[in-house]
Symmetry: D2
Subunit: 383 residues, 4 copies
């Protein structure tokens, strides 16, 4: 119950402190027969690591080379636990010597001690953002599994430093562009990069919003009561440090709509010759079939965000997650030390002024882990 | 994994279809020795049930009389599973005969069939809001346990039909008033009731926002990685049907703040003679102590919403949850039937035009279940 | 973690004290579409209940009428939790008044108080054998699911009061006969009944051994490390009160064999036209297929007891479980009371002198629950 | 559910194939503050590894050097996951080339393929005994935690190659001696070593029985229904490859006793000045206290094996586990190959003729893991 294992059937255990020997994860429950190469994992990790450049991103260069210790043989998963480690090789633990006896504002330093009695103060220990490298590695395995059903998970930065990116409906909106620019925005970077650089120069920091879309999800995934699709994704995304909110489909705006405005109109779905809707790519798999006698539907709109009653509709799952600004700032701040005395804190280590671009692969990873898990859970829904 | 069991140590299983013999829950993991009376459960259920009156609330009169079948002896919990059932006594199953071959817009009718192959069409079956009676009953047990530590969970309607209630900071804000009015708003009802009645008269419906506050929570609860306090509450609240978003503390607004604006300033906490901060009521218990050598802190502000790094700070936990408008509306809607043909749907059963007031005790219950669970999980954090 | 939930995917929660309002269970995770009638449950319960007569069996007449509260619609499981309750209607709580301040030898009275601080002393409370009624009810649901794959679970009394029944290999061995006689022995009752009556007359009691066989189990079930087939069955059977040991296949005797004696020789299996071995009844189902390219094997002998490396071989699973004699005896015994003083205890309530016949359906139920769970877990083994 | 995670609160995940890069484990849920050194782990591993010499033990020299990757800081556990890896450095994968297309008798080769479709044939892959190194490493962490309460777990070989060692009650019985001799027998080695050497010389193999004792266990551990102390230990021990049975206390023999013979007589326990029985060493801890008003008991005998109703009595927990003879034998055996043809198999790799001495630390480790878990679970039993 210590909260380092995530998922029910497709499960991941994350381990590692930021300045300890290694960070890593073990996936338990990935089916046998999934093609998996260490490069699949390295690719996702490289999108998360710092040192890529970009506005306000720390120049520290974490190599983040994953090593697969188990669970893969001849390029395929064995059905056994897949252990992946990433050595911590570029840590400057001495940066944290001055901070070990005080509680940084906005950080978990004090709450950690309140819980456990002591902490590894170096680089935030386990509450460091470095922990998310393990999630990204695990997410890469989940994606490899989901690729078999054609399911994709794509995230982008929809707001940074208070500046919105083009959104769905806007002609400038292009989620594919997010992979190509360093801010991960779906279109032109615009003013956000400049604003972040200004904040960084003043020793301040920015937050933002990440949007995510799951496509080609078959209908029927998610459990109707506690394990609702949105509940599971919400838990996953809110478990990322700095996340302060999540909304699905029309989200908070739906609270102000009338029922007649908000309901999406069901429509019959045309089927292609392979039994799938004509507009859904990918081969039919064990995961994607409808039970006999159930017609294939689609919907004219998707204010529901891809789920009704906790179960996927087959429309894209769409959500947005808010992240607070980075807590580590160079400006002087008042705080309290271990003796309970008021003191001043000035954080001088290498930190990012805005982590949003680096959060994008983490949101994708957590979402992919949920979808992989729900996919396997669904296998037990019917005789 | 079927998603009807919630929690890790303090766990609840919910069961029941809306028109089946009974709805109920079993709590497994409630410690022995908690004073519990069936009236504690009945009281919370009466706040959830329809028939209380109020704007847009269905006049159907569900008695919702809970019966405790096990786990309590001599007025105290035994440490064994506490089974509670509520007979379904006022069901009009024939209201649903016309609906059994079509898929109501905004409902889980089709997604349910996509998952399981068939469904109990009467009253929504298990995807009915009636299922939340089981949650409220379980939440009452969690509250009885939390009362031992002085922890309280209070929710209210902060927006209904697009109209905001007074919020914290507003002089008219009075959360205690929410218990007294039928809309559960923290102050005067204002225009919201009238707007709901208008929508109801037109056969339309409304959504809204529920706010919730957990007070007197000791610091140290929550797990630092996947089991973060906000992740656990977020999952819990998003598992309530119709919930479309949740935000904590400064929430989505925090995404646009600068780090220097958003960080809450730690300050030393004055301690009273019983070792607790002077401003925290309640007796010191096993759950509330800090480890030796860790000073007691407080914070000048609470934009963090009561948690840092996934672990409670001792400040109030504060969050808001958005609920879409009721999907069942009396107006004619186009939809698809079991043969995949377009048809018209007109819902004539007894349904609420706005469920927000009835959602309040459900949000409280789910939150109390999470806090009870995290409280017990925390018992294993240290030697 | 309170230990009242059993299983991973096909899960059961058991609740109820022996003299509380009801005993019951909830099954979460049974797939939708299984034919289930309350009579299926009643039938198994009637084999467990006292009042059937038979040597040394208490004449108390528990009606044990199950009521299904949820999860079944139109004679089929919905995929939702199946709640079943059995009212406790024939309790003589006053029989236990004299016992409430002392600790009965061989019972959980004192260990229960050591754990929880107090107990429901009436009839043993939750540590009563009555709790197994919930298991039998849940097992009946598991059997209904397993019947779809042709899997059967059959147990019998192989030793009672120190007297062995005919065993496999003995011409008198006839497991079907066990359903017909009151001692549940696979052949003629012989001396055991008489011996039990003698012990009962003296106020003493007997133990014994139950044997169990799972037939038509497909190969591939069970998980290779912690979730081994024998580990899971062993846990299940040892969770029945009074069980003191379990052995599989050649069991303890195998410890003294040489490897060359103990290994079972693999042989090719003849396949019938439906792809199954000619000697295996039942239709081929999703659960029973071998992966492509894997030949169907059989074995000349079955000292392995139906599992190699934790995974089923397709041979019958065979095991034996030892049960200590009934702790409640009419003879005077010395014990200690709540004040820590030595006292005398004489148990006068209605109790069985030998519970072995009544344990048979409980062993079957627990085994069926494990097999149902492993069957669903296996669905996630491969892509 | 893939069966590589064990435990509820104190949990361990095991990973690794015998000829992959590494074997290892991650412990999630160990409380913060436990003193832990890598040498504690290395010491237990050295008792498990081959190359120690001894009758019938393979001369292959696995170094088994553990590396702690996370969860320990300044010599103490942090409350975060403790990842431990052991590189596989002395593997002769080519020994298995001849075996990759046939199914070794008594091994999991075929059942593995029946489950997953393919396997890592090198050294048995994940079904190799090498996997138990991970268990021993995890068990060392559990022991370090249990040492705080004075709880000890000690196992020995009580039967090897059909020859019994001195048992409790025999004047020659000396469990401490088991640590000093290579057969791990509690006294003089006697004929067993010679018999194993004879079998090894003939290319044959032996099995045996391991006995285990848990001492200084406080009363109150274990859960009264499915999570009974014996159920949990039974599951743990039966999850060790080759285990074919387990019995507790008087075990199978108790089945033939009368109730009046089998019940252990409760007696008042003298308390020493620290509130513990005079004969129980170790300091009183949070884990060892009795609830107010419950007298401390002891028992004249211990046929119950240390548990009543699934809950520890405070007497030693005692059990015996049977292990079948090693399946890998040098003698020619008939078997079936991947084409379903009968063929001959002769296993020439480096294998042990009797693994019993090496099983001793594995039984201890699995038992320690259960006790650590039950200890933490017990923390939630009472308010």
């Amino acid at each position: 119950m210590a909260g380092n294992i995530f998922g029910g059937v497709f499960r991941v255990l994350s381990f590692g402190e930021s300045h300890g020997p290694a960070t890593g994860c073990v996936i338990d429950g990935c089916p046998a027969g999934v093609s998996l190469d260490v490069q699949d994992i390295a690719r996702d990790l490289s999108r998360r690591r710092p040192g890529n450049g970009g506005p306000g991103i720390s120049p520290r260069n974490e190599q983040d080379e994953p090593e697969i210790l188990s669970g893969v043989f001849g390029g395929k998963t064995l059905g056994t636990p897949i252990a992946i480690i990433i050595r911590n090789t570029n840590q400057h633990s001495e940066d944290y010597d001055d901070l070990k006896d005080l509680y940084r504002p906005g950080h978990a330093d004090w709450t950690w001690e309140a819980k456990y009695g002591f902490r590894d103060h170096r680089g935030g220990g386990r509450s460091s953002g470095r922990e998310t490298a393990a999630r990204v590695a695990a997410g890469a395995v989940a994606r490899a599994f989901l690729a078999l059903s054609g399911i994709t998970v794509t995230a982008w930065v929809s707001q940074a430093a208070g500046i919105n990116s083009p959104g769905p409906g806007d002609p400038a909106f292009d989620p594919a562009a997010a992979a190509a620019n360093l801010l991960r925005v779906p279109g032109r970077t615009g003013q956000a990069g400049k604003r972040i650089e200004e904040l960084a120069a003043r020793g301040d920091s920015a937050g933002g919003v990440v949007s995510c879309r799951v496509s080609s999800l078959p209908p029927g995934l998610g459990e109707p009561v506690f394990g609702k699709l949105f509940a599971r994704i919400g838990e996953a995304v809110l478990s990322i440090g700095a996340c302060r909110g999540v909304e699905f489909g029309a989200g908070f705006a739906s609270a102000g709509l009338r029922g007649s405005e908000n309901n999406d109109e069901p429509i019959p779905a045309r089927e292609s010759s392979d039994g799938l809707p004509a507009d859904k790519p990918g081969p039919p798999t064990a995961e994607t079939g409808l039970p006999p006698g159930v017609p294939r539907l689609s919907f004219k709109t998707n204010r529901a965000g891809g789920s009704l009653g906790g179960i996927s509709t087959g429309m894209d799952v769409e959500f947005r997650a808010a992240f607070k600004p980075v807590a580590s700032i160079g400006m002087a701040q008042k705080t309290v030390n271990r003796n309970g005395e008021i003191t001043e804190c000035r954080i001088t280590g290498r930190h990012d002024a805005c982590i949003l671009p680096r959060v994008v692969p983490v949101v994708e990873a957590m979402t992919a882990l949920v979808i992989a898990d729900l996919t396997l859970q669904h296998r037990s829904a019917r005789i």
